[in-house]
Subunit: 341 residues, 2 copies
DNA sequence: ACCTGGCACTCGGTAGGATCGAGTGCCAAT
DNA sequence: ATTGGCACTCGATCCTACCGAGTGCCAGGT
């Protein structure tokens, strides 16, 4: 809907503004390659682009700045015409990272968020794949002392779920004994092993009323206690947020959001559901405190069709080609890595 | 070493500066209760305090600002003469927090860091007690698929340690079978249950060479893989750092440090070892990037004589009485809470 | 000997005014 | 339709003046 020249001009403005953070004037645009026109022509075109909402002037007789709509056009036009590449150094960094990577999944994801943050120079978020579809390899109930016990489940994807619970008390006020706990534990293991977390149902009665009570509590703890949303979010390079804005109040606000893991998870999930890879400004991602920010997101397809999520958060004025490339590469390689185990 | 009047004046300057963040002039001090002298006298005294390094002038003919040494005197004099109290609202908040608190230890610690941050309006840090002294309640080895397996240990304090490991391969290139894994698992359980994490030694040979190999790997994984330092640090209210300074560069630097969990842990542990509760400025805590920051720390004595740590990080210009009170109360109640289980 | 009122002095911060220059909008010529 | 030219705008920068909070010091009073 924009003719070629307008598109070229808009692209030039965005590119220059991303680089310099200064309002861009017609002369700069005219001089930039990709635009064949005099500054006067550019001026005319730019005033149209402003009328149509792609650009704004901070004040009369200053250069122009892209609006969110302007950025949107930019990234859309990017999608068609070959997205950016990482530079060789970064490519090497990614490669060496993923060949070296090993050990705990959580640890690796945390490191990955830092990698992504380093690559883009923005804050990165990594969310572990949910393990609803993972099968249970082992469950047990362990008495801790006093009235408390722990249900521990080991899943096929290598993660461990644990829940605290209170042991049922007998009529005389003392908690149930070790015998009951081990009985329940083996029963639980026999019944749940091999199932997925999603399909935990009731465990059939054993006849022993205390054992049944403990079993019920355990299953409830395992299914219910999904604080989940919080446990598996890794934020890397939050301090880089302070580079993006020079108003300390803005930084404060954004960091505040990042601390609310639930909000972050919801945000990324929501964007993925809507099929977006990049959300520019509050209009698109819907979080007013993050006005002036863009969110970039990609699914991480691992084993079992389960998908994790990675994303980055930066100012709307960010290097989209580079960031998109980084997210794409990392999501791909991370997915492959997870698949391998 | 400071006569009464000088001490009173210094205190007045610190208090006013903490409140207003503006250089304090002699008139304000003279008017403040606790100081009985004319502004001229105060001026004379203040110039002495400056000569002795307790105060500085940002520029000639401006008020005075406390130096780190000035703050140090202030908090020392505080220690003697009844430290501050939390206001009733805060008291109530703490109380309700700890009566409501339940569930996973990690989750509670994380929430605690947020509580402490809310109370003080600064960034708070909570470090879980190490579990070197906790005894092992249950260990098992779970094969995951392919060559990888997981060693999972449940400790008496309710935490769960897990380590990934690669299964040994047989001569024909396939990993050891389930029989070997279960054999090793039961053997490991029988031998380690009841011991503390600190005193894991070799497991005596079984005669079966593959089982022995797996056992050795498992024990090594459990003792070695102490990434530990990272896993148990909870930072709450990092965004509040942005309130403390108005130079975005400073914020950036401090946040950078907070992201390096190892540094944070080392810092707090070091301070505790040196018997400090409050470290003012880079000279005392030793981290140049945290110039202009004070660190406040307290041990959390839980069960088994094991101690966790809580602390807060804020600008040197912080409300010490209030912050000290908050840290003291939270450390005490958290300790009690952990003891209970 | 110490305190205190008074006074001259300093110097950061704010307000007004001039200047500069990058940038715009518009118009007439190509 | 494009472009060179021109008048105009307006933020940024610099200078100056001025105000006021604050200081240092001195001389007089207790």
């Amino acid at each position: 809907m924009l003719d070629d020249r307008k598109a070229a001009i808009l692209r030039a403005v965005v590119e220059e503004y991303i680089e310099t953070a200064q309002p861009v004037g017609s002369q700069h645009v005219a001089r930039s390659r990709g635009v064949q026109a005099s500054s006067a022509t550019v001026r005319n075109e730019m005033s149209v682009l402003e009328r149509d909402g792609y650009l704004v002037q901070p004040h009369t007789s200053a250069g122009r700045i892209p609006t969110d709509k302007g950025y949107r056009f930019f990234v859309d036009s990017l999608h068609g015409w070959g997205a950016g590449q990482l530079n060789p150094g970064q490519r090497a960094e990614v490669k060496s990272f993923f060949t070296k990577a090993h050990g705990e999944l959580e640890h690796m994801l945390s490191e990955t968020s830092q990698l992504l943050s380093r690559l883009t120079d923005h804050t990165a978020v990594v969310i572990a794949p949910p393990h609803e579809a993972a099968t249970i390899r082992s469950v047990q109930i362990v008495a801790l002392g006093g009235r408390t016990a722990l249900v521990v489940a080991v899943l096929s994807n290598g993660s461990v779920e644990k829940r605290t619970l209170e042991l049922p008390v007998l009529d005389d006020g003392t908690p149930v004994g070790d015998a009951v706990v081990t009985a329940a534990s083996t029963r639980l293991a026999g019944y749940l092993t091999g199932r997925t977390v999603a399909q935990l149902g009731e465990v059939p009665s054993t006849g022993e009323v205390t054992v049944d009570a403990l079993l019920a509590t355990s299953v409830r703890a395992l299914t219910g206690g999904h604080d989940e949303e919080g446990g598996s979010v890794f934020v890397g390079g939050a301090s880089r947020m302070a580079n993006a804005f020079d108003a300390v109040a803005t930084v404060r606000q954004v960091l505040g959001i990042l601390e609310e893991q639930f909000v972050v998870v919801t945000l990324l999930r929501d964007l993925l559901d809507r099929g977006l890879t990049v959300a520019i400004g509050a209009d698109e991602h819907g979080l007013t405190p993050l006005a002036g920010c863009s969110v970039l997101v990609a699914p991480v397809r691992g084993a079992d069709g389960q998908t994790g999520t990675i994303g980055i958060l930066g100012p709307t004025r960010m290097n989209y080609p580079q960031a998109l490339a980084a997210v794409a590469v990392v999501s791909q390689r991370l997915g492959r890595r997870i698949e391998e185990g």
